[in-house]
Amino acid sequence: MIDPAVPKGAGNGGVPAPFGTHLPASARISFPERKVLQMVMSYVWSFLLALCLFCALLTGAPDLGQAAMAGAARAVELGLGLTGSLVLWSGFGTLLERSGLQRGLARLLSPLLGRLFPTARRDPETMGALCGNVTANLLGLGSAATPLGIRAVRRMQALAQTETATDEMCRLIVMNTASIQLLPTTVAALRGQLGAAAPFDILPAVWLTSALSVTAGLTAAAALRRWWA
């Protein structure tokens, strides 16, 4: 299933583009799965509101209308408070891309990643997208990471000619869902906005936690492989 919204050249067999955000935002494609997820949120939302009303009826809580307005107003306050940091770090992210630092890091990591992805290593296009995806994640360049990851999985799919996920695809997915990020800037911005003494002092804890979860994910993948022929 290839979505028509994806530009030609982005998928398998296309011209191997260099790293970075050369894919337009439309590469973030409207999947049916995405609709399903949005439907899940619709149920979650409705369920939460029903729960609130039920509890309020039982406890005779204060004015919920006032609470709703206060919550909405606080969201804007929070969003605007985060804007400064998000703009700063997005700017820094683009600088990392244009300075060639991301590409340098990708080259540096490529031998290590080659061991985890022995099949992908044989194809330069897959490997380029894969290393780009991992480094973009490391550097917190979310908007660059997704199109690169999609390109890597597509290329793997085209080479394997299958509708079943390969071991290396699962490995890449786990590395993406476990979020290995050197600078969790959004969380730090949130902490700063809410008055933390040192917003970035959670860094070592985040690194250790991420390392543990990636390791657990990859170990689980290696163990579970046997049950899924």
Partner: protein, 168 residues
């Protein structure tokens, strides 16, 4: 220590880029513009979800939920307040941000609960969304063990977050 880290990082990358004749300031401005777009795109979701979170708090539903979930959280070593965050994190990134912000605001960003929430947010991802985006873009129908393995990674992250929040 981390007080110098951030400006030093900004300076270091800027000087490195300058050495390669990169227009540093334009890069910062262009990237900043996309950051503004990001804020614009998440703000509506943040409004809806923080409204729901505030309603949950005022109506007493949040307290009831915490008390209900406490017997599950206690043996795992998790602060019961963070369980709603654990449940919503794999589904929706902006909902997790809203719940995390509420936890940090009501308990204090430097409290054990606030720090645990921050570490959880920083070291996990919107798992179901990521899996569905990657696999459906590539036309993969059978995802095999990708979801269970990713969820094991998430669970490890959540459990480790409460430990690292205590120790580090």
């Amino acid at each position: 220590m981390t007080g110098f880290l951030i400006p030093a990082l900004l300076l270091g990358v800027s000087v490195l880029a300058l050495g390669r004749r990169v227009d540093v300031y334009s890069a910062l401005l262009d990237g900043g513009r996309s950051g503004l777009e990001l804020v614009k795109s998440i703000l509506p979701a943040l409004v809806m979800l923080l409204t729901a979170v505030e309603l949950l708090r005022v109506s007493g539903a949040a307290d009831a939920l915490t008390r209900l979930l406490a017997p599950i959280a206690a043996p795992l070593g998790l602060p019961p307040e963070t369980l709603p965050l654990v449940l919503i994190r794999p589904l929706s990134g902006s909902a997790a941000l809203a719940v995390g912000a509420e936890l940090m605001a009501s308990h204090g960003p430097d409290s054990p609960v606030g720090r645990t929430a921050a570490i959880m947010l920083g070291s996990t991802e919107t798992t179901f969304y990521t899996v569905s985006v990657y696999f459906s873009a590539a036309g993969i129908r059978k995802t095999r063990y990708a979801v269970p393995a990713a969820l094991i990674a998430d669970l490890t992250g959540f459990l480790a977050a409460s430990l690292t929040a205590k120790w580090m």
